[in-house]
Subunit: 452 residues, 2 copies
């Protein structure tokens, strides 16, 4: 997804764009779009509403379409792709890197992918089919095939002469990959090392054989964690027989990291991390509706709990006034715990061995904060309604609900993960149901007992 | 912050660790900690509760302390640093990169930093003081001083011979920085280009002068966006007179990206992105208490609104049963909008020029979903309480609150940002207050009117 280098820059470009659109100065817009670096043009297109986007895309010169397209997010990509036929797609993606073409094709229906591949030349087709054969979320789907390989028995001098025969080296090339005569990966020779070593030694003598190559079926998430830990710029990808398939570069890994991190944030609001900020009303409304519907169910469950205590509320209306406090404090405390645990899981900090400690800690924190705020709320409620019983009841309910909330916030993500349900997506809904039900139940239940 | 390369690996290490701790096999733990790559040892330490951490830190050999320390998160770092005196800090950080030492020192009080600097040798002190003179959140604070510079008038052959005089090149060196005789930055010569070019040409002929160097006072956020857009591995940093100060490398930028992304997630739950997953109860409880206190205030505001309609609730208890539905649906709808807008702002998609469109879109989405769920809730409520009035009232309140929620979710972050208040931190609280107040007010207010 395209990032903004400079907010003010994007803003002033958008202003120019709006003025030009207003006065119909399409030639000016065309010059602007095609003059910008493709990633900046993509960012500008992403920052406009759907209707204007269509106009902008018409103004992009055909030779720039592929370059700009690869920097757009999935949703905008598929919007534009849906208006092209297979030959157009094949034409505009020509010259892009294999992994970028594969990413673009994955937005299309299978039938169209087939057609696009058929209209490519043989060599390109084989290359793309190879990348497409791997799952998008694996190392194989992330890799590129632009490796530079050398044999271990040549001298550095020969290696340097071999390099000099290239017009240019692929972007992000920080090392040569050493393979045996069967094209199996055996080591890495970094350019940094190549440049400081005696030209007469052989590759074998100075190559690094400690680097573990990445298996093609490793998840992109694990790949990102390896890159972060090992400070790699690029890394080789191999199949199960150690045949070199390609390499992964840090620029693609950065995108994975960005998406990973966005995932937790967006999922907790029931949104997709690929969500287009400027999708149309008719795209946005149905998506949001589903999440609202799920939450409506949990709200009705809470209402059903309240309904059990109708008689008590009729007697003591102050209960209706205070009951949202207990539920809402539980929700907040639970969400805090949930967020900490989900983040800890994403960082790989939480495992079977320390989760019990974490649950205990959270329950203790819930207890301490429950007691603290129970005292304050009890004092306020007693004073407000001039009724000590209601103060006592709300205090007890608050302690019960904050402990429950902390426990649920810590345990739920672990359970959901074991059930292979995304904790960031489902955690919040289940948690709120728990804190609402327990909050209303304990508060109104205790009140029913004490106001008999 | 240390990342997990392999969940199972961390898990099995934690298991081994726990067993060893249980049986008092400290020698085994010591071997394990000092045998792991420092980043893995740091990850293991971060994944243990505070009490065990202290024990583990005792078992780290002094020559590994600095390497492991630099990979720990800020909270754990300062925990360990607080037990050392200035000389120890100076001793263990010796040999680390200048930016990493500066990061560590920034956890210490000013007085101690001074002492640590005084016990370093002159050259190191000057180097660190230089990095420390820049704000932690700027390019200057992120940069390293390990640049390799060349003059434009030498030939590539001379440049290569110069490189070969080095024992090794600094990590992440993908280019040589070209400076004039005043040490002012004039261009970049990538190793990729150096390796494919004719050795007899001069640096000047093939260097890239298009690369805009990064000003030392640029925010790390903007630096990260530049790296993401331009696919850089490293980039030069200059002062206002174009003097070369150092360079920023992608590994440090990845950390910035990770922290940036975590910030929104954690802030929305009132947490700090540096929050230690395994902080003790007594560190955690007070921090969480503040956020709960703020939320308690908003809950009391909601209660005050309900209290206005005490008389109506006494007459129609069903209102107390249904009122949380209206408030909670508003909260959910508002949070969705808020999250989309906050993410859009982080990606630099939202500016003055398109925010009106976005606000309109959100209000329309709120209207459409308001009407949809109003119909469903009205039908359910009418049937449940066998009362059409209550169905009509909840439907109207639902539409009002969902529109308000969408409007507030879109407008609030823009207002907060203009006021220089972090929307991710404050947005949720303000939003919930709005949706609670409007939800209860509209529902109970309309009910009061119709049940006169």
């Amino acid at each position: 997804m395209a990032q903004s280098a400079d907010k003010h820059e994007t803003e002033s470009r958008l202003e120019t764009l709006n003025e030009a659109l207003g006065s119909g100065a399409f030639l000016q817009i065309r010059r602007m779009l095609n003059g910008l670096p493709p990633v900046d043009a993509a960012h500008l297109i992403e920052s406009t509403p759907q209707k204007i986007r269509g106009v902008l895309w018409q103004l992009v010169d055909i030779e720039n379409e592929g370059d700009i397209l690869q920097h757009l997010n999935d949703e905008v990509q598929s919007q534009f792709l849906s208006q092209m036929d297979a030959e157009e797609v094949a034409a505009i993606t020509e010259g892009l890197e294999a992994d970028d073409i594969a990413d673009i094709l994955q937005q299309l229906p299978d039938r169209v992918i087939r057609e696009v591949l058929d209209s490519m030349d043989h060599q390109d087709r084989v290359r793309i089919e190879h990348v497409l054969s791997f799952d998008e979320d694996t190392a194989g789907g992330l890799m590129n095939t632009d490796t530079i390989t050398v044999r271990p028995n040549i001298t550095l001098d020969v290696a340097m002469r071999y390099l000099r025969r290239h017009e240019e080296l692929p972007e992000m090339t920080d090392s040569l990959l050493v393979v045996n005569r069967n094209d199996q990966f055996i080591g890495v020779l970094s350019l940094r090392k190549l440049l400081v070593s005696d030209p007469s030694v052989t590759v074998r003598e100075i190559m690094d054989t400690e680097v573990e190559p990445i298996p093609a079926n490793m998840s992109t998430r694990e790949v990102a964690q390896l890159f972060e830990r090992r400070d790699w710029v690029s890394a080789p990808v191999v199949d199960e027989n150690h045949y070199l398939l390609g390499r992964i570069t840090i620029d693609d890994v950065v995108d994975v990291i960005r998406e990973e991190s966005d995932h937790s944030l967006m999922s907790m609001a029931g949104l997709d991390e690929d969500e287009d900020t400027f999708a149309s009303v008719f795209t946005t409304a149905p998506r949001r509706a589903i999440w609202l519907g799920i939450n409506l169910l949990t709200a009705f469950i809470a209402s059903a709990v309240i309904n059990l205590f109708e008689g008590t509320i009729e007697k003591v209306v102050a209960l209706a006034v205070l009951m949202p406090i207990v539920a809402s404090m539980g929700g907040v405390a639970g969400t805090q715990t949930l967020t900490v645990v989900i983040r800890g899981m994403a960082l790989g900090h939480i495992s079977r061995n320390n989760s019990r400690w974490l649950i205990n800690r959270e329950v203790l924190v819930g207890l301490m904060n429950g007691v603290l705020w129970a005292v304050i709320v009890a004092a306020a409620a007693s004073y407000w309604f001039d009724d000590y019983i209601i103060g006592g009841v709300i205090a007890a309910a608050m302690v019960i609900n904050l402990i429950t909330a902390s426990l649920a916030g810590a345990v739920l993500p672990l359970i959901l993960k074991a059930l292979k349900i995304d904790p960031a997506l489902a955690g919040g809904v289940v948690l709120t149901t728990v804190t609402d039900v327990v909050g209303f139940m304990s508060f109104l239940g205790l009140a029913t007992y004490f106001y008999r």
